[in-house]
Amino acid sequence: MAGVVVSGRFPRRRVPRAMVKNVARVLLRGAFRNWLRNLATTAPALGSMTLLLLLSGLVGVLGFALWSVAQTETRDAAVLHVYLRDDASAAQVDQLRTKLQADRDISSVHFVSKDQALALARKRPGLPDLARASGGNPFPASFDVQVKRLADVGKVDSAVRRAAAVDPVYPTSYDPGAYQRLTTMLLWVAIVGSAFMLLLGFVAVTVTANSIRAAIHSRRDEVTIMQLVGAPRWMVRGPFVIEGAITGGTAGLVAGLVTLVVTLTVVSAGGSSFLQLAPGLSIAAAALACGAVFLAGLVIGSGSSVLGVHRHLES
């Protein structure tokens, strides 16, 4: 018998480089190696997460577009367009302008001629066709009236709609129920969207936690030995958390890129009616959505791994 090491003959060299190397080996290399080894068992979780994150990304983009619409509508709701008769005289128009400018509820009045109205219409999807079909300029001149308070728009409308210069058929843009309907719709969209996102998040967390449970089970012996020889808790749990982050990050990256491509496709179709409904969409918004989906994947993956490890790895 050669004897057993009682006091080590090797001096301890506390080399930071060795520590970095060991941490990298245990946490990163170990996690990547095991992730690749367990890919077959992780694949369903990876697929589910990718799909869920993609849905979340698209719902998020849609939500952002609706939010942009709401912002625009809120801003526009305090602007009253007062449409003028084509045969209104200059005196009648001046009289109306004077009346509007004298109103204390109004902050500004801007005249839009028929030519300017036509030019604006040409920038809107579908309206150039209407302009061409009519053979002339069907758009009336108008006053764009900025009302100080949203609540006073109805009062200003009542005051001007019977003026001599105002078109009797379609006097103003005032629609008392439009803003309320939009707000109600957005509220419901927010509620349904949030519930949907919560459901997706719950499913993603459950799926990932289950895949981590499978990973822990497959490495039960290694984990047991690590625990019994006194490996620090972070060293035992860390690789599983990183495995979860890799799963979530991969799913997030794929879903984020698909979200980016879909959003950019919509943005590139600049004249489409969809973009008109979703004016907030841009390349920056698409990149932001991609980044958010990737980040969500990382957070959900590592977070659900922490939960799974906490639940299935006992000291």
């Binding site: 057993v4 009682v6 006091s7 030995i225 020889v229």
Partner: protein, 246 residues
Amino acid sequence: MTPSLESKGLQPLVEFAGVSRRYGEITALEQVSFTLTRGEFAFLVGPSGAGKTTLLKLINREIRPSDGEVWVDAIAAHDLPATKVPELRRHVGVVFQDYKLLPRLTVLENVAFALQVTDLMITDQEAHDRALDALEAVGLGERSGAFPAELSGGQQQRVAIARAVVTQPPLLIADEPTGNLDMETAWQIMDLLDDIASFGTAILLATHNVDIVTKMQRRILTLVDGHLVRDQPAGRTGKMAWLAWS
């Protein structure tokens, strides 16, 4: 039941003070008290279900006692938070009946693994050298590149012992380490453990092997139905051994 170690100037390495452990309605250990000193080799015997494994698990803080105190190398295992458990386990080497070697790692890597996961400052070269040193100590230096499946049961148990002592813990606990081995191999393992104890590592070994327990003439702790019924000092075996029972 146990002599006062403090009065002899000895610091106990392991101390059980009125320890009970219950699993629901079942009592696995009841008011067990004993101490183990540094370098002491003791057997833990008793019929199946007597509480031997429970006692070993209490030392390694795999479980907590329902009552009483468990001290291991001045660490209060009975009151240890989960975050501090790894610290305790670095003081305790563990050997199992089924070896628990990692099949994908070589023998050397299995031993080095214990060093690398407990000491982040250790270099690859140092881990390699120390693991090889431990393997040579158990007579397996020549097989360091082999995988566990390529070794016999006795050789695998030697690797497990090398892994348990490579971090130089003051205490080694072994749960039926010869349970899967033939008598000749079992004696080789016992010689190895005896050698380890002679270098100052305390050993507490749970076993059913009466032949080994009788011939080794070491201290014997006997558990029956969770009660420590005998604490027989070392060297007191034979027909008149009962005279030494405390």
